[in-house]
Amino acid sequence: MSEFAVEALNIVRTFKDNEVRALDDVTLHVPAREVFGLLGPNGSGKTTMIRILSTILSPTSGSATVNGFDVVKHPDEVRRSIGLAGQYATVDENLTGFENLRMIGSLNHLEKKFVVNRSRELLEQFGLTDAANRIAKTYSGGMRRRLDLAAALVANPPLLFLDEPTTGLDPQSRQDLWAIIETLVEGGTSVLLTTQYLEEADRLCKQLVVLDHGKIIAEGTSQELKTRLGNTVLSLSFANTADASHGAALLDGISSKPANVDGTVVEFTVERGPSAAADALRRIDAAGITLTGLTLREPSLDDVFLNLTGHKAEDAPSGAIDDAPKSRRARKARS
């Protein structure tokens, strides 16, 4: 048997008579008992991959095994060995928390007594005991996500698929969910999670792949990717575009990567933020140019994409919710 929780080989999935290639030759090896990340913007194919691996969708070509079972030939065995939780928190709003878990347990064909005990136990672990007999419609966003995750855990599956588990959550709920995921992995569960947040991938995932337009554009450990990127983004704002291009030229060599000039803003990915910032200030000051702003921030998914593909992460229809936490982090300067 394979030591991988998921082995996907050359998966291709097209939609609308081959017009849209949602996945284009994706190969994944997800090791057991750790968190593996699929990182990418909306529309990059993350969710399509999860849907194929959870037997909801069949691949156009390629093959995949989940816990050793082929997703096309033995879907029922796959379904018995996985849990699925998603960004849409698919709990039944009209049922109570307890009823939701009981329903999933019974549809997993588990023994009644086991389901009742397991449901109580999960509600308690996820801090939902007080809300157990309230209908899920009254739950907050964070509570729904926790219930959704609890539902995925009722059958105690060895492998969890988490599709953007924290998208749209407030920072506290996000932290709570991260802690739960870490506990699960300590207990031996394997997790394949998709995310748009580099910070999340960095915190949880041992290994990850970056998807763009259905293709893998980078893979490795989070540290490897960060090293390729530089650890910090140095962002400088100038009064006008002429100053900005002059400034970019002055700062040549401050980073091993070329500057990214966007209007009056010039950005570099650098290894050591503070010393690079000091160096930049000296050079700009010596040239007599006025800066209107300087920030140091962690690289975002956009920076990853810019570095890997030369274009920004596209397609973010749900950007209104998604960008809020990202921009909050962006403003937080590093020391």
Partner: protein, 270 residues
């Protein structure tokens, strides 16, 4: 392979044959739908008020101008309304499934090791249960407004079963619509042009004799009219020819065509 090293106890798979599992899955789904009905009483109240409004409308507003051969209009009307409301009730199948699809619940069910047809069968069964309640209400309201069925109680129950069976078979067609519609509002809108002609261009509310010739042919022989004729005959104890058998054949034909359609749509729906 030893992936299951979780600290929690391993789940116990209960032992049953796959057929018994399928039945258990259908009941789990039906129970879930009925719980939702209890949780949102407004939808249930609306489902019950609408047929009562129809009874009152036709009994007191239109009855003066509708002439039925050899009898009182109220006795003609109530069996017809009974057939109409069960068909309207079956529309709920389309709306319920479209909602589940929209909310991503169907997606979750598709990733569970449950019987594939249980989502659809659970929905049609719970809508059938709701229709039973509607029938009871209509019977009570009907008796209140002067409905006097002269057939036997057994025949009355047979008539109710026939109406329920006919609506149940049709509900598989509404299941198909619910899975094909982009959202529940559209699903509801899509069913309207279907149920309107089959219930109103029929012998449900008025005798077909006064309809223009081109319409009369359709209205006389279409399945809803046959069902209404059989239900009316059974309830009133009047002769109704072969209409019971014809209605049963229509119902069987409908489910034989519509259920496979809906199930294949479910397998594809994503």
């Amino acid at each position: 392979m030893s992936l299951t090293t979780s600290h929690t106890p391993l789940p116990i798979q209960a032992q049953k044959s796959s057929l018994r599992w399928a039945v258990s899955d259908v009941l789990t789904m039906a129970r879930r739908n009925l719980l939702a009905l209890v949780r949102i009483p407004s939808s249930l109240v609306f489902a019950l008020i609408q047929p009562v409004m129809f009874v009152l409308l036709f009994r007191y507003v239109f009855s003066g101008v509708i002439k039925v051969p050899g009898g009182q209009y109220v006795n003609f009307l109530i069996p017809g309304i009974l057939v109409q409301t069960t068909i309207f009730g079956a529309v709920g199948t389309a709306i319920g499934l479209a909602e589940d699809l929209q909310r991503g619940l169907i997606e979750r069910f598709r990733a569970l090791p449950m019987a594939r047809m249980a989502v659809l069968a659970g929905r049609t069964v719970s809508d059938l249960a709701r229709n039973v309640l509607v029938l009871v209400i209509i019977t009570v309201v009907g008796l209140g407004v002067g409905f006097r069925p002269h057939g036997s109680i057994v025949a009355y129950l047979q008539a109710c079963l026939l109406a329920l069976l006919f609506a149940y078979c049709l509900s598989w067609g509404f299941a198909f619509i619910g899975l094909a519609a982009p959202n529940s509002e559209t699903a509801q809108a899509m069913t309207f042009p279907l149920i309107f002609p089959i219930t109103f261009a029929s012998s449900i509310f008025v005798p077909v004799a006064t309809m223009p010739g081109w319409l009369r042919g359709f209205a006389t022989y279409q399945p809803v009219s046959e069902t209404a004729k059989a239900v009316r005959g059974l309830m009133l104890g009047t002769p109704h020819g072969d209409s019971t058998w014809i209605a049963l054949i229509w119902a069987a034909g409908a489910i034989l065509i519509l259920a496979p359609l809906a199930i294949s749509r479910y397998r594809r729906a994503a």
